[in-house]
């Protein structure tokens, strides 16, 4: 029996469930490795060589090299693990979150100051805004 996913109809949201956790295992463990300074240095020195040490898919590796957080999430990344990657780039959660919405960072910050993204029209896929 397939896993029950009552959240599948929520727009713009990837729930880090069993399927995603399985898919993203090596990507997330790669991110964890960046908690260590020596690994951060080796990664910075040659990103391609460093990601090649991990049994990730090519799509995962390319998403990392491109810093494409949307693709990393789609390939099983979890934002708390990905935070080790953007932290080692000196970037914040706001930067990463904004990049996934497609908004420029200052526009995203402006939206947060105005009270954040409204749930109206954002609860169900296909819902009228």
């Amino acid at each position: 029996m397939a896993l029950f996913k009552p959240y599948a109809d929520i727009p713009g949201t990837t729930v880090f469930d069993a399927d995603m956790a399985r898919k993203g295992y090596h990507l997330n463990q790669f991110c964890m490795s960046l908690m260590k300074e020596e690994n951060r240095q080796r990664f910075r020195a040659d990103e391609r060589a460093y990601v090649d040490e991990w049994p990730m898919t090519e799509a995962q590796k390319q998403a990392v090299l491109d810093r494409d957080y949307t693709r990393m999430i789609a390939n099983g990344g979890n934002v708390y693990f990905l935070s080790k990657l953007f932290a080692s780039d000196g970037k914040t959660f706001v930067h990463a979150a904004a990049s996934m919405t497609g908004m420029p960072e200052d526009e995203y910050k402006e939206m947060m100051l105005r009270g954040g993204r409204s749930p109206e029209g954002n609860r169900y896929i296909g819902e009228k805004k």
Binding site: T13, I73, N78, F93, M100, R117, S118
Partner: protein, 280 residues
Amino acid sequence: MARITAGVTTSHIPLIGRVIDTGETETPYWKPVFDGYDFTKRWIEKEQPDVVFLVYNDHATAFDMRMIPTFAIGCAEEFPPADEGYGPRPVPVVEGAPELAWHIAQSVIEQDFDLTIINEMAVDHGLTVPLSLVFGQPDAWPCRIIPFPVNVVVYPVPSGRRCFKLGKAIRTAIESFDEDLNVQVWGTGGMSHQLQGTRAGLINQEWDKRFLDRLADNPEELAEIPHVEYIREAGSEGIELVMWLIMRGALGDKVKELHRHYHVPASNTAVGHMVLEAVD
């Protein structure tokens, strides 16, 4: 006997830790966030708890994908602040309460909740930011702390109902400990926030406020909220709020609301903070 005297809920946003550590709490952006904790700082100075049982979640720091305990209890003598990629926060080492922690582990497991026992662990912003918000920047934390990490990152995560019942079991455990201790239970995380996807930045003030409204007097209703409602209404990371229900379950049937604070935004998140006194 040990008594549970009060409960505190608070957000544990990592950026708040950095703002405290770098002394930027008085800026126009941050001041309203911190002002909401003034009451609590004065209150806790009078209360002087001996032990805080602190429910939080680890954010891929002490636990990675290799091992994912649903509920875990820190039984060590001490817990160092973790290096989360920027170097460890300049905060005191957390002193544990091993005797009480082991007592709770035994009692709660005998009440059919399976806890993971932890004897060595670094603690991340989920635990240290609430301490900084309430105690400020002392040379040593003024009480002992039992860290209680809950998995709310990797699904399946525990239900609100399970968390609420676990809180009740924790109450039974603490109240059967022989030493005369003033114990507080804190539930951290939340409120509405989403850190990923095109829906990132979601904040639902109305839903958050209804959650706050029911925490004191109607927690059974909150315990019925299914995961999908948290995700849909409070954002994918809003699920952290189930941890507040562990705190609420531990406080017993009747509580008195002493303080409430709600502010949007802090970084990507709605800050919610409450102080509840145990009445019976």
